[in-house]
Amino acid sequence: MIEVEKLSKRYEGRLVLDGIDAVFAPGEVTALVGPSGGGKSTLLRCLNGLEPFDAGVVRVGSETLAPGDVRAQGEQVRRIRRRVGFVFQQWHLFAHRTALGNVTEAPMHVKGVGRREAVERGRALLEKVGLSHREDAYPSELSGGEQQRVAIARALAMEPEVLLMDEPTSALDPERVGALIDLLEQLRSEGLTLVAVTHEMRFARELAARVLVLYGGRIIEEGPPARVLASPHHERTRAFLGLGRGAALRSLGA
């Protein structure tokens, strides 16, 4: 679904992505893990053109994203973004629109779907994320968990093939994490490809088919969560997971 080849990016002289090669297969759930500053979020943002890169290529189906200025690639980037949804860590719901308005905005104005149809589908999506009763609420009136679910519905409204999520659990109460995992599990079963940056090992374990560990802008280890999380090969992974030589459990359950 998404192919990344030799992706490199410098930021303020530092190499934040260093020749990343990765393939995200259709219907697969991938967790990007690793210490802060390892390049996980940057990689995620490069996948739908939110962040420019210096070398390499990103392919989404038949569309490609080249290095350099994203705005110069106008229509190409927009076609990719329509196929690849993004859920931000802080959700960034449109503050001046209701929950339903957030969900119908892009279908109506980007895809040109009629109001009636957009509203109908928007309501169905809000129901799917369990927020039918909150459709008229503004973002400032919603809890964090509710805002996140609206953000997911908003992304899904564009019927993307891939959903990118940046730290989906970081702003949630621990008891809400289970509900999120259930929702994403359902989406996965419907064929959605998911790539999520996460610190939450439970999330990676229960949902992901594959874990990529990023460190220093490179993928230092990858494999099924059961293997990577239980017996990592790389020393850095062990340190990160708190398994190596008595390292503190600093990254768990962050």
Binding site: N48, L50, R71, G74, R78, R79, R81, R82, G85, F86, F88, Q90, W91, H92, L93, F94, A95, H96, R97, E105, A106, H109, V110, Y138, S140, R154, A155, M158
Partner: protein, 498 residues
Amino acid sequence: MSLSPARRSSFLLPFLLALLALAGLPACGAEQDTGLARVRRTGELRWGADAQGGEPYATEDPDAPGGMRGFEVELAEALARELGVRARFVQNDWSNLIPSLERGAFDVALNGMEVTPARAGRILFTRPYYVFNLRLLARRGDEAVTSLASLRGQRVGTLANSLAWDLLQRSGVEAVPYEGVEEPYIDLEQGRVRAVLMDDIIAQRYGQPRPGLRVVGDVGEGYYAIAVRPGEEDLRDALDEALGRIARSGELRAIFQRWGIDSAAQQRMVDWTEAQTREVLASTHTARMGWGQLVLFLQAAGVTLLVSVGAMLLAIPLGVGLSLTRLYGPRWAGRLATTYVELFRGTPVLLQLYVLYYGLAGVLRLDPLSAAILGLGLNYAAYEAEVYRAGVQAVPRGQLEAALALGMPLRLALRRIIMPQAFRVALPGVTNDFIALLKDSSLVSVISVVELTKRMTITAVDVRSWLIPGALCALLYLVMSYPLSRLARRLEARLERG
């Protein structure tokens, strides 16, 4: 084009003066001796005039910086000599000469002050020192203009509150008030007025040299006299005597000859009597504050509203465009937008109106109302651009990213997501600017648009009182601005929810 005779008074000053008068406060200080005694004691005759009034009255001498030249300069010196004192020039805005005289800023006002009943009601006039004609000019080739009567219903330019103004008011023509002596002739050439009626001294210098204009004829006469504070009859009498002496000795006409403004009629100044002055005043009429004036005020308020709303409707989209260009446009376009903002914000709107209306008249022939709306609109766009820029910058960055991540083109994201939120932040600033604009619109009187403040100053001088016209003017401004504030507050409250 000259910006020189900016004969305009601020809105506030006359109003405050009226309030002071109402409170019964003595406007001048505690000077013990008055009139002639004071002039003799100080050894100076302080005479107020506006050096910007243009030749040949009293202007700065280009050959002697700080010195003055003009027939009135020589007249003041001759009179001072007759009184045994020195003459000292005091610069004062022409339109405020009388209020300043009343406050005691100088002993006399001597600056092409026409004997009109409106002025005679407030101050003492000496015997006149000059008789002038009211000269009508039209465009060469516009032969249909033969007299004032032939101009019924047409636009005719002149200085507001002058004798010519009074005559036009009574002649059934549409009198268009100007604040400078050159601008009416520019507008006549441009076809924005059908004719111009002015004192012949002015017509000679500023109108007749223009090849496109012709003299239709002289349609009346008037007199220049010196204004003295009421209660200082002794000074007035001394000046009358002095004037009589220099008129009889031939010195007065010699001065006029030197300035090329002498005529046989000036011989009448020699044996002028007080009775003749009274006759002049009796032959002219005095306006009263009545229902007719109220209608004129309401019309002027309508003009103020039209100019303000029109300018704002222009300034808002232009300001939005400028702010977005600065924030998101290509670098060169952003620089251009920044230059626009700095240029229009950094220079006086008065200057911009002058340039737009008179300066560009050759290439862009706008009628006064369009020029007023366009000029204020272009100026306020610069302020709106900054208000919106602040508004856009107050919208969290994530909002734009979220919109782009959904596949929105930048323009759509700005229009649907950023601008509505920026507008909420900008609304108080926009409301503020609109109320400021409502009052700034009084500036357009310099391009001969009669709006509310101009109407007030004209009427106040006509009816010899600032109090009622001032209060009415203030009331009408409030009636226009207050509901707007209320509306904006309600809108803010509604937007608050999102």
